[in-house]
Each structure stands twice: as C-alpha cells, then as structure tokens.
C-alpha cells in the first residue's frame, strides 16, 4: 500500500456512514411497525476552524511539524481528535512527544474499535495522549482495513504501549509493524480468532431452566 492510498483511506473513512434501521436496531423481531425507518449514523463528525481554546494552537503546531498531515480534526464533546493517516502516525507521535509546545509525554491508552460497516476502514486504532506539562489530552485516530490490518508500532516512541498493542493484536488482529514481540496477551496462545471484533460471536451458551431456555445475550432481540 502506498502512502497516497493510506491517505485516501483516512479521508474516506468517516464519510461512509452506517445506517440504523427500524426502531429496534434492525434485529429480528422488530414488531414495532417502524421496521422500515432508515437513519444514517453520524460518527466522527469533522470540525472546522476555529476549533476553540488551545485546540488551534496544538493543531497549528502539529501541522507545522508534520507538513504532510491532512487537517482532519474533530472537537466533538470538547475532546480533540486528530485523524492521522497510518503511515504518518510514527512521525506524528514523535513530534507530539518531543516538541516543547506540545509535549505529550504519555500515551495513556491505545484501543481499537471495529466498525464493520466502515468499508475499507474497518479497524480504527485510537491513541489517547496526555501532556502532563501542559495538562492537555488529545486523541489520535488511525484507520486501517480488514484486508491490510497493519499499523506502524509506536513502541519506539512510547515504550509503555507495548502491551496495549499486543492486546489490540489479540482482540482485533491489528498487526503493529515494528513491535518487538506481537503475541497474544489476554487469550491463550493457541486461541483462534480475535474476540473483540464485531464478527466474532459473543460465544455464550443457552441457559436451561425448568421448562424454559434463555438464549445467550447476542442472540436475544436487540433494541
């Protein structure tokens, strides 16, 4: 995959909007009479300038340090999210950590989200950065696809993301390129599949009572 492809993926990702159907989440058994309703879900809305507060300052600084970075920013609910093409993530975290005006020393959390409807950008990896110097938090979001679930590891910049990346590999199957030992961490070593993904069943059993059976939670009627 070339850099421009990845860039396109990142920009395209949020424009594909999943749709919510019916009154009860589109599952079976929607007897409400409103099963035909179809509403798009607006994930990850984009903000336009001015972003407000210190957001503009941070964005300007990041864009100055990483000129290739497209300006895709969300300020939803007062939290700053920068959407980063995956081949630029290492450059961006290095800049955000080392620059004196940014100084995000810690990556407090890395987590992945699986959007099966977001075709071509199913897997989102979300980095929560914390600057203790400036008392700020930002979020970086990287998207990648099911076909090519490879994201550069940020372990060389933030050593403490080691286990987080292993967890994401274990749960979602995202391959972190450059990680020193990308092995399973939560599930047994010989486990098949990646349980965090939406296409992985919850795996509960049917509960049997006298004269009744209750299906596992993922097979019950959903709202």
């Amino acid at each position: 995959m070339t850099a421009s492809d990845a860039l396109e993926l990142a920009t395209d990702a949020p424009t594909i909007q999943p749709v919510r159907k019916g009154m009860w989440g589109g599952g079976p058994g929607d007897v409400s009479g409103f099963g035909g309703i179809s509403r798009p879900i607006q994930y990850n809305s984009r903000a336009t300038r001015p972003y407000g507060g210190w957001f503009d300052e941070v964005i300007d600084q990041v864009l100055g340090l990483v000129p290739d970075l497209p300006e895709e920013v969300s300020t939803d609910r007062g939290e700053l999210t920068i959407y980063v093409p995956k081949d630029l993530i290492l450059e961006v975290v290095r800049a955000t950590r080392d620059d004196a005006a940014l100084r995000f020393e810690t990556c407090t959390s890395v987590c992945a989200v699986h959007y099966p409807d977001d075709l071509g950008a199913e897997l989102h990896v979300v980095y929560a950065l914390l600057s203790m110097t400036h008392n700020r938090r930002i979020r970086l979001e990287v998207v990648t696809s099911d076909e090519d679930p490879v994201v550069p590891s940020v372990g060389s910049v933030y050593p403490h993301t080691d286990w987080h990346e292993r967890e994401i590999w274990d749960m979602f199957g995202v391959i972190f390129e450059g990680h020193s030992s990308l092995t399973r961490i939560l599930m047994p070593d010989d486990w098949d599949g990646h349980p965090g993904r939406k296409d992985y069943p919850l795996g509960g059993i049917t509960m049997k009572f006298k004269g009744a059976e209750v299906p596992p939670p993922d097979e019950r009627r959903s709202y």
């Binding site: 994930y43 100084r103 810690t106 407090t108 050593p159 403490h160 020193s180 030992s181 919850l202």
Partner: protein
C-alpha cells in the same frame, strides 16, 4: 546503537547474560538520576532523554526472531550473550540447556499466593539474582468489554464494577462519567457528593488491601489482619448504602442508584471516628519497623524519568516526587471544591509507595469529612438526573417486599397511569439511547489513572467500551523494577504496584 551496549552488567554474575526486552534496556538507570518534582523543567528533562534514545532503531533491528545468539567478538573465552525479545519461552529453555551455569528458569504463578491474583511471572534466576522477569497476564480475562456491547448502557455498570474488584466504585464512576459526557447531561449536586464519598471510602479500602496484602506477602501478617478489620467498616457502610459489600453497581449514568439510608449519616460518623482511632496504628506498626525498612527501602526503585517512560501514574509516580493527581489537575465530580493535599514522597522505592498510600488514606478521610457536611446540607435533594428519559423513574427505595421500587411508584404505574407504565417498561427493557460519538474519561483511581474510552453508535447499547486500567499499564514495568535484584524482592515490587488482575485482564 545496540541494546547490549547500554545494559548494565548484572551484579554477581561472571558471564554477561543480559536478557531484556528492547525497550527496557534504556531504562535501567539507577534511581539516583531522579530529578526534582518541579513540573515543566523536569518534564523537559525527560523528553530530552527521549530524544537521545533511539529505541525505534532497536526494535527494528532485532525484529527477526525470538532468541538471538551472538558470540562475543572479543577474545574472552566463550561467554555467550542472549538477547531475548519476546517469542516462545520454549526457545529460552532449549537455549539454556546447552549452558553449564546455574541459571534456572522458574515459573511463578498464576496460582501463587503472593502474585496478587492470577499473575504469571516467568523468572530467570542466577542463584537468587533475577536475570530476567516477564509477567504473563490474561488468566482472568472475562470478556467484559465485549459482553457490555450486548447490554444496555445502564446494565453496563454491573459488568464494569467487576473489573477492578478491590476498588469497584472507581470503575463505575469513570464509566458513568464517560456516558454522561456522551449524553451531555449534568449530575445533581448530591449525587456528586455521594460519588465522591463512595470513591474516597473506596480509596481507603483499596489502600488498606494494598498495604495489607503487601505486608502479608513480606511476612507482616498483622498489617493484613488489621487492614481487613478496617475494611469491614467501609464494607458495612456500603452494604447499608446500596445492599452489597462488593460489586456495588451503585453509580449509574445520571447519578447514583439510591440515597443514604435513614441512619446513613450516623453510620458515616461511626466510620470516620473508627478511622481516626485506628489509622495511626499502621504508621505505628510499619513506618519505623526495621524489617519493613529492610524489605522495602531501595527495593523496586523507579526514578522519575523511568516512571515517565513507562507511563506510570498513581502512587508509584507520586513516590518519585511528582504531584500528579487528576483530582487536582483535571478535576471531576467537583473535586476542585474539596480541600485536600496531593501526597508525594521522594525515595522512588517500594517504601515510598507504601508511605504515599498511607498518607493518602488520611487525605481521603479529610474529604470524607467534608462530604459528611455536604450530605447534611443537601439532604432531600435529588440523587439522579431529573431527565425522565435517563433516570430510573421512582427511586429504588425499598418496596414492601424488601427490594425493588418504592411502593408509591409501583402504585402509580400499575394503578393510575398507563403512560408511566409504558415509560417504565421501555426504560427498563430497552434502556436509553446515547447520541453517537466517542469520549475518553479519566479519573484518579487508587492505583493510578483509570480511563474509559466509549464509542456509541446512537443505540441503546455501547458500541465499544475500553477500559484503560492502571494495573495493566503498571505491570509492564515489573521487569524494570525486578531485573538485577533479588528474587525475594519480586514480591515487594509487584505488591508496590498494586495491580488487581481483574482490572488488568478485564
């Protein structure tokens, strides 16, 4: 730059057997390098360190395999160096069989009384010196995050409370803060006071377990027994408040589930008085105890730059002298209106972490006393969001059968108002819907920064919940704390981080 160049040779070993993951190799500087606690300057200093270290190169260079053997190029007689960067542990054992030295690989846990739960530690020992140690986790992985995707937002509280089971209230609070952020609602003042009250009591209970089990593991059984004696006081209060000793599910999106019972304030007064009487005992038992000092002083040291590199928060970070406490820095639940101090210590070792926890219990007690006054002032005010689409209708005061909804509420929905019944039914079975978006909420749990990243797709269930548990983060630094030390100090090091495996594995 190779990682071997930077590794300090392990004391007491003739050969240079250096086994370490790549990122740890830069961090093995002694505690003496620790810098002062002034924020900005120190942080700049750390980042300069970062800039010099080019760890990316290391990780990429040694990417190819699990075990790399490299014969030393010097003319010394056949010392072999190992560089192990992950991979299959069988390879380690196989490699070890060709050697004639005393290095043994032992497996500590997951069923071991002093690993704080089901933590597995793969230790390589030369005599009693720890050459390498690798924590293995996942033995308590319960699929909580995925299970929550199939439950309503309110039901999620019952799952989240079972993550870090020593401090369950904190899990609930951070989850509810995140949900409230997504919903964009405010919480009534009294609910916030009750949250702060339960959190601070929970903090004391957690530190009692941390100090107590930590003491037990180094042989000070008395600390554990009196710790649990005090903890029972708090659990009794929780039981009177919400009906359960543990796994409370007390904090709900929009507020808390139930108000103080009639004699709640009197009970709280008893708890406060009890702690004023009994908390000094811990200082008396431990602070100047020579055995305590011998086991904990200068053991499991982690300097400030190391702590920053490992992303450590909570008492281990404050024990390096840096007063980072989210209650002060990024207040939530109205912490900015309470008067308390952030405790720090400057020894960077296990003893410092113990003292930080000990003093934090006193600070928590101070906050609890302030909550007592506020609870008196706010008596009778709502404890749940007044938005009828979110707050459960009819507070969960005890019904005539000893549980469930209040009698007046049942009478209303069953006898008077059909709409109320429909509303109640919808809210209980379907739950409320949360607008789409994602948020990351953090609070200062007793162990460090507890974060909750939630994504909503606009439905009545979470699309994704991810908890950032401090224990998960902290356990990564076990090799940093233990390697080069004594075997008996492993227990002290793990206990000083206070991981709870339910939170680590989720």
């Amino acid at each position: 730059m190779s990682p071997r160049d930077e590794l300090d040779p392990v004391e007491g070993t003739e050969e240079t057997v250096d086994i370490s993951v790549a990122e740890d190799s830069e961090l093995s500087s002694p505690c003496a390098e620790s810098q002062g606690p002034e924020d900005a300057e120190v942080v700049d200093g750390v980042s300069d360190d970062y800039a010099e270290d080019d760890t990316g190169e290391v990780a990429q260079d040694d990417d190819k395999g699990a075990v790399v053997f490299e014969e030393e190029l010097t003319d010394k007689p056949e010392p072999t160096e190992y560089l192990i960067i992950g991979g299959d542990f069988d390879d380690v054992v196989a490699a070890q069989q060709n050697r004639s030295d005393e290095v043994i690989v032992i497996n500590m846990g997951p069923q071991h009384p002093s690993t704080h739960g089901v933590l597995r530690l793969e230790v390589e020992l030369d005599g009693e010196s720890v050459l390498s140690i690798r924590p293995g986790i996942g033995f308590l992985h319960s699929g909580i995050e995925k299970s929550m995707e199939y439950r309503t937002w309110a039901q999620g509280v019952t799952y989240i409370t079972r993550m870090d089971y020593v401090a369950p209230i904190f899990n609930e609070v951070v989850y509810c803060l995140a949900v409230e952020k997504l919903l964009g609602i405010d919480v009534p003042e009294r609910a916030n006071v009750l949250r702060v009250l339960t959190m601070e009591l929970g903090r004391i209970a957690n530190h009692l377990v941390a100090v107590g089990t930590g003491g037990m593991e180094i042989g000070a059984l008395t600390v554990m027994t009196i710790g649990f004696r005090e903890r029972e006081m708090i659990l009794d209060f929780f039981e009177a408040l919400c009906g359960t000793r543990m796994n409370h599910a007390y904090i709900r999106p929009g507020g808390v589930s139930i108000d103080l019972p009639d004699n709640g304030l009197a009970r709280l007064r008893t708890v406060i008085e009890w702690f004023h009487k009994h908390l000094p005992e811990y200082a008396g038992f431990c602070n100047e105890n020579p055995i305590f000092h011998a086991r904990m002083r200068d053991v499991a040291t982690m300097s400030f730059p190391q702590a920053m590199a490992m992303g450590v928060t909570g008492p281990p970070l404050r024990a390096t002298g840096y007063p980072w406490d989210l209650r002060k820095k990024q207040p939530y639940c109205g912490y900015e209106t309470y008067d308390f101090d952030v405790i720090t210590w400057d020894t960077c070792d296990a003893y410092g972490r113990f003292r930080v926890r000990l003093s934090e219990m006193w600070e928590s007690l101070k906050i609890v006393e302030q909550c007592y006054k506020r609870l008196e002032e706010t008596a009778g005010q709502p404890i749940m969001s007044t938005d009828p689409k979110i707050g459960m209708p009819g507070d969960l005061s005890l019904g005539p059968d000893g549980q469930g909804n209040s009698f007046t509420h049942v009478k209303k929905v069953m006898g008077q108002s059909m709409e109320s019944l429909i509303h109640h039914f919808k809210l209980v079975t379907e739950g409320f819907k949360v607008p789409p978006g994602q948020v990351y909420a953090t609070i200062e749990s007793p162990k460090g920064e507890l974060g909750c990243h939630i994504v909503s797709d606009g439905g009545a269930r979470p699309f994704r919940v991810h908890m950032r548990d401090p224990g998960f983060h902290h356990l990564q630094s076990v090799p940093l704390l233990c390697e080069g030390g004594m075997m008996s100090d492993i227990v002290v090091a793990v206990a000083s981080l206070d991981p709870v495996l339910g939170g680590v594995d989720r």
